[in-house]
């Protein structure tokens, strides 16, 4: 595929043909009626609008708690969401989409749904919203008393967006980079970026009608030792790409790494960078909020230990003043959680959020240094990306991934260079053992080298790939750093 992408705003009128094809992708596409959808949204109580709820929380300085959850059947899914709202005290709700839908395999999703009904248990790992269609999905929005978001992992999420937004969902996760590199193998970035521009343009169109939909690039990427500079770079690019299509309410995210100082620094720098690069594009009417994901890598199988990991995540979110936190469950290492386990994760999280509501991580030199490193690294990556794109962020992103200027560790995509290798330093912060082609200055390279050498000395081994493997298993085995045993 040739590099046809650009970051320019799509003309709504020119999308008509494409929209028709998209909506024809599955029979439920015919249910989409934009005019009717706008009316529905405009009549929706303000407290059910995700974007408004986030702005309110940001102003109040509160951190909101949101679970992940989705099962195949509509009634069971609604029951699940009501349970998380009423018994869990969730401030925001999700609808997690199954993996067939994420790969646009609606036939397989249909089969999985049918079998789930038959067996009386979900054989799908999420809610197949496309198969359920607009009217069914609307039952969710109408039955809940907190806002609800679509969460998935779909490289081509156009039909899913058409259907769920028309159904009244007010937030939509994903992006052309973050829902490709960790979630696909061979989808070209040109294609996923363009498909997500469609989604962003659709959201921008809702915005033009006075309906604000929240958009959220997927922060954690592969969830496994992703350095802040990598995920921040992706988050900023997707924020710019979304804003270019008229999106006005964006939540940028970051997945907990485990060193509290690094995590707080990451949360603090995230909006700084987004606003800086938006402003450089002379965009200044976008509301930016942040999301912190509780540890996204391997979890301990023991539920009590999992509660420890979950609480540490909640505490870090509060101290770093994230606008919302995505909550894990004590079943993380066991399988898709029961609704009870899911509600427990929310309640443990809310207890610590509430207790720390009026506390922030105190400003200190180590925190400032960590912020400085993240800012420097991310700017190096982003500036190089823009240079490669000759001023165009979409083109730049494609070329940056091809060149390894952005390079996500452990990603399945063949369009990711895969030459970086992260490892924890002696205090558990995520550093680079190999930085591949990340455009780091010599100073920064030396910084990483020194940090890992320090750990190496403490462990009496030279920094190597075994450290990485040990780090991958560490939290699951009850520690942060994979020390030799």
């Amino acid at each position: 595929m040739t590099e046809q992408v650009s970051h320019n705003k799509l003309e709504w009128k020119e999308l008509n043909e494409e929209r028709e094809a998209v909506l024809a992708g599955w029979p439920t596409g015919q249910e989409v009626d934009l005019e009717e959808a706008f009316q529905f949204h405009l009549k929706l109580a303000p407290e059910l609008n995700f974007a408004k709820r986030l702005i309110q929380a940001k102003q109040q300085g509160h951190t909101l708690a949101q679970p992940r959850a989705g099962v195949a059947e509509l009634n069971k899914h609604l029951e699940l969401l009501l349970f998380l709202q009423n018994e869990g005290g969730a401030d925001l709700l999700p609808t997690t989409i199954d993996s067939y839908t994420r790969q646009n395999r609606y036939e397989e999703a249909e089969k999985g749904l049918a079998e789930s009904v038959l067996e009386g248990r979900s054989l799908l790992n999420g809610f197949p919203a496309v198969n359920h269609g607009v009217q069914n999905c609307r039952r969710l929005v109408e039955s809940l008393s907190v806002p609800v978001q679509v969460r998935h992992g779909t490289p081509d999420a156009r039909l899913l967006a058409e259907i769920t937004l028309a159904a009244g969902f007010t937030a939509y996760e994903g992006g052309g980079l973050s829902y490709n590199i960790p979630y696909a193998k061979r989808v070209p970035l040109e294609k996923s970026i363009r498909d997500w521009q469609y989604v962003d343009r659709l959201v921008g169109y809702y915005q033009e009608q006075g309906v604000t939909i929240n958009r959220e690039p997927f922060g954690p990427l592969t969830g496994t030792l992703v350095s802040p500079c990598i995920s921040h770079s992706v988050a900023v690019i997707e924020a710019v790409l979304a804003a270019k299509q008229g999106v006005k309410n964006i939540t940028i995210g970051y997945g907990q790494c485990g060193n509290i100082t690094q995590d707080v620094a990451a949360l603090q720098t995230l909006p700084v960078l987004a606003e800086e690069y938006l402003q450089a594009e002379t965009i200044d009417d976008v509301e930016i909020t942040t999301v912190f994901h509780q540890w996204m890598g391997g979890f301990p199988a023991d539920e009590a230990k999992a509660f420890g990991v979950i609480s540490l995540g909640g505490i870090t979110a509060a101290l770093g003043q994230a606008t919302k936190v995505i909550v894990k469950t004590t079943h993380e290492a066991l399988g898709i959680p029961t609704k009870e386990a899911n509600a427990q994760g929310i309640r443990a999280t809310k207890q610590v959020l509430n207790m720390l509501q009026d506390q922030v991580y105190p400003e200190n030199p180590k925190l400032a240094e960590e912020r400085d490193i993240i800012l420097q690294e991310t700017r190096l990556i982003l500036d190089k990306t823009l240079e490669l794109g000759e001023g165009d962020w979409a083109l730049g992103a494609v070329r940056a991934f091809a060149a390894g200027v952005i390079d996500v560790p452990f990603a399945p995509s063949s369009h990711n260079a895969g030459r970086t290798m992260p490892a924890r330093d002696n205090e558990g912060a995520v550093r680079f053992l190999s930085w591949g082609s990340l455009p780091f200055t010599k100073d920064i390279q030396d910084f990483h080298r020194a940090k890992l050498a320090e750990r190496g000395r403490a462990e009496q081994r030279s920094p190597n790939f075994q450290m990485v493997i040990d780090d991958i298993y560490a939290i699951g085995h009850g520690r942060l750093i994979g020390r030799p045993r």
């Binding site: 199954d98 993996s99 067939y100 994420r102 790969q103 395999r105 397989e108 089969k111 999985g112 079998e115 248990r121 979900s122 054989l123 799908l124 790992n125 992992g153 960790p182 979630y183 696909a184 193998k185 061979r186 592969t222 496994t224 890598g297 391997g298 199988a301 079943h331 290492a333 066991l334 399988g335 898709i336 959680p337 029961t338 452990f410 990603a411 399945p412 790939f465 493997i469 991958i472 298993y473």
Partner: protein, 136 residues
């Protein structure tokens, strides 16, 4: 001793890549020739790779919960391709949610797997058994 060839991959629409990368490295370090198909691997790709590389065993991963659906018919496809008795292991989060492990194991054995492993499996838990199953 001649090295044995393993075909490795994560089946279906599953993109969990981390365990797959670790298994590749561990099997290679243990002396196997590893053909790693990565994630998002179809049954067809497994069968073709096994035939093409004259593999000694197929190692299927499924983490995301749809494994139960995704592996149906794989053993039959191997039979059809003339390598019906190839050794085949499966591991990961094989069903949605956490079900009784004994049931899961039985289910996947009926689906044609020689050995079935839970998600907490470490490479060192598998390699000795694999070597013995392959007569190494």
């Amino acid at each position: 001793m001649e090295s044995k060839t393993l075909v490795l991959g994560v089946i279906g629409s599953d993109v969990h890549a981390v365990g797959n990368k670790i298994l590749e490295i561990a099997f290679r370090e243990a002396g196997f020739t590893v053909v790693n198909l990565g994630v998002l691997v179809s049954q067809k790709e497994f069968v073709e790779a096994a035939v093409e590389t004259n593999a000694d065993a197929i190692m299927v991963s499924s983490l995301y919960g749809h494994g139960e659906i995704d592996v149906r018919g794989l053993r039959e496809a191997l039979i059809e391709a003339g390598i019906g008795d190839i050794l085949m292991y499966v591991g990961g989060y094989l069903v949605v949610g956490s079900q009784d492990w004994a049931d899961v194991e039985t289910k996947f054995k009926q689906l044609g797997f020689d050995r079935v492993y839970p998600p907490s499996t470490l490479p060192e838990d598998v390699i000795p058994t694999l070597k013995s199953d392959l007569g190494m």
